[in-house]
Symmetry: C2
């Protein structure tokens, strides 16, 4: 049943690449044996400059069109090698880089922690008779309720809010007052309006990897994710955006099908070992874990440190060289 | 800001059509001037037979592959005309038919009405002192709360549940008991598990229009919509599926871009004048309104009866000939 979501015919194939004049000329020069094209210092400097300057350039480009991009030296080399080894040009599928959004590109858990604190403040007084650490007890009870409710409600603010209301009523043995429940409802509305704050280095890392195809793969409440995607203007930096209801093997496979992504030429970057790392490693992709300062209890999982395609990055700034190394 | 969700480059173009042997032969015969191909009674009978028998055939086809389909007589005629008028073959963009899901393909409002009834039962006692018709007053209060909260919470069961909890607390002036609120939470969980029941004629209508490209355009809670799409196995009958967070001009335009749909060659079928009809008419598409037996207060809008591309159908059974007539 899980597979039935795939459209009956595969219609979504990437448009054929439209090489720019410069790119086409460079490829043709290479195919004609002009290997010096690979090492022209001017080209290299221009590429580096573009990477550093891109964010500003895009902001200052009201037409929405993007500057011409040069095929990376690595990609040209690969095209050349393919031609040499096979005797004719072989099409190589493109490299895709996937980015998680919540707590990878922008802060999210941060806002949930404030909601959890409000919950604990409201509920702990009802637990003091039974528990030494009533706030911790309230927190544990909420996590247990959320974990039980995810199969029904999925991920995101609204499901979390209903779980908070349920946990507040059960934890207080029905003693919680309706106006306290209303504070949880008001908090949900605040959450649905919080500003988008990028993590340090997130935009620079996206731009540094923009010679590849980029896909945003995010999970959570549809309304909230759309809001954050629109507020952040992030979609213009990506080739594709997908809001997933779950992040596991079958849902990643569907996203790969939808965008014609070859799993072995895909690298996922995200903060959740459970949602961003393990499922893609199992599909043959590579994955870079960038831990957020806190992890939601339900997303905690052990890092697969021994996996040859797994890497850890201390921050988003550290990601681009790690991706380059993974791609060889 | 609303436009920023479009990916920076348009990658999603439909795959080139792969004509079957029979279709290719028929097209070639037509282009060679063999107009009799249009009127071969055997072909026509086979087409009619396929339409009637298709649902059963697909169910009995465990490979998941679909029987060969004949290009409709209308499409062949159009190809021929294009060639004759221009002196050479012109590519004609494909016709797409869009289907809403909730209350168009399967029952939905039905379950919400049961939730509303539970809400009224719980809240009316607190309103009896002030209102002659306390149940109606409870209902009106809930609709007002939902309407106010949609900009924050969007559409679907979870947002509706939080609105019910808020309305129950405010309507009762904080007198509602926590265990009554818990009944609304339990009802939300029931809602998130209700079975998918197709409307009469829905599957036959999808199959009768399957010579066109078909797209499912649904709105609501991401988790709930995915669940219903998977439970119903409906995706195998569609070329594309999109869960929208809102159904208005900008969101339809994005869906059209995503699937390379030409608005003037698109017909939308749905039960909501506000969400399925008016926005697509404004984009130049055609629309068929199939009213459900009840309409959520927030979706009520006046039918644009004077619009030349608007049609009403009394049930899903009546839709295919209306679409044929619209397509001329």
């Amino acid at each position: 049943m899980g597979d039935s979501f795939a459209p009956r015919r595969s219609l979504l194939t990437p448009a054929p690449p439209k090489p720019t004049g410069g790119r086409r000329a460079a490829v043709e020069a290479l195919l004609d044996g002009d290997r010096t094209a690979l090492d022209r210092p001017g080209k290299r400097r221009r590429t580096s400059h573009r990477r550093r300057g891109q964010r500003t350039e895009r902001r200052g480009n009201p037409s929405g069109r993007h500057p011409l991009r040069l095929t990376s030296v690595r990609v040209l080399r690969r095209l050349l090698l393919k031609r040499e080894s096979a005797g004719r040009l072989v099409t190589v599928s493109e490299i895709w880089i996937g980015f998680d959004a919540d707590d990878t590109l922008w802060h999210n858990e941060h806002y949930f922690i404030q909601s959890y604190a409000l919950f604990a403040e409201l509920v702990a007084p009802y637990l003091e008779a039974e528990h030494d650490d009533a706030e911790q007890a309230a927190h544990d009870l909420l996590v247990a309720t959320e974990r039980r409710n995810i199969p029904s409600f999925g991920y995101g603010i609204k499901g979390a809010t209903i779980s908070m209301i349920e946990a507040a009523i059960t934890a207080s043995h029905g003693e919680i007052r309706p106006e306290q429940i209303l504070r949880l409802v008001d908090r949900a509305k605040e959450m649905m309006e919080h500003p988008v704050e990028f993590l340090d280095g997130a935009l620079d890392t996206i731009d540094a990897l923009s010679q590849h195809k980029l896909v945003l793969l995010t999970k959570g409440d549809l309304k909230d994710q759309h809001r954050k995607i629109e507020m952040s203007n992030i979609a213009e930096r990506f080739d594709a955006v997908e809001i997933m209801h779950e992040k596991d093997g079958p849902t990643y496979r569907k996203a790969f099908d939808r965008f014609s992504i070859d799993p072995v030429r895909f690298v996922m970057i995200g903060n959740s070992v459970k949602s961003d790392i393990i499922p893609v490693l199992e599909l043959g992709s590579a994955a870079v874990h960038v831990p957020y300062r806190t992890t939601w209890a339900i997303e905690v999982a052990e890092e697969p440190t021994a996996h040859p395609k797994f890497r850890q990055a201390s921050s988003m700034h550290a990601v681009p060289p790690i991706v380059d190394e993974l791609l060889g």
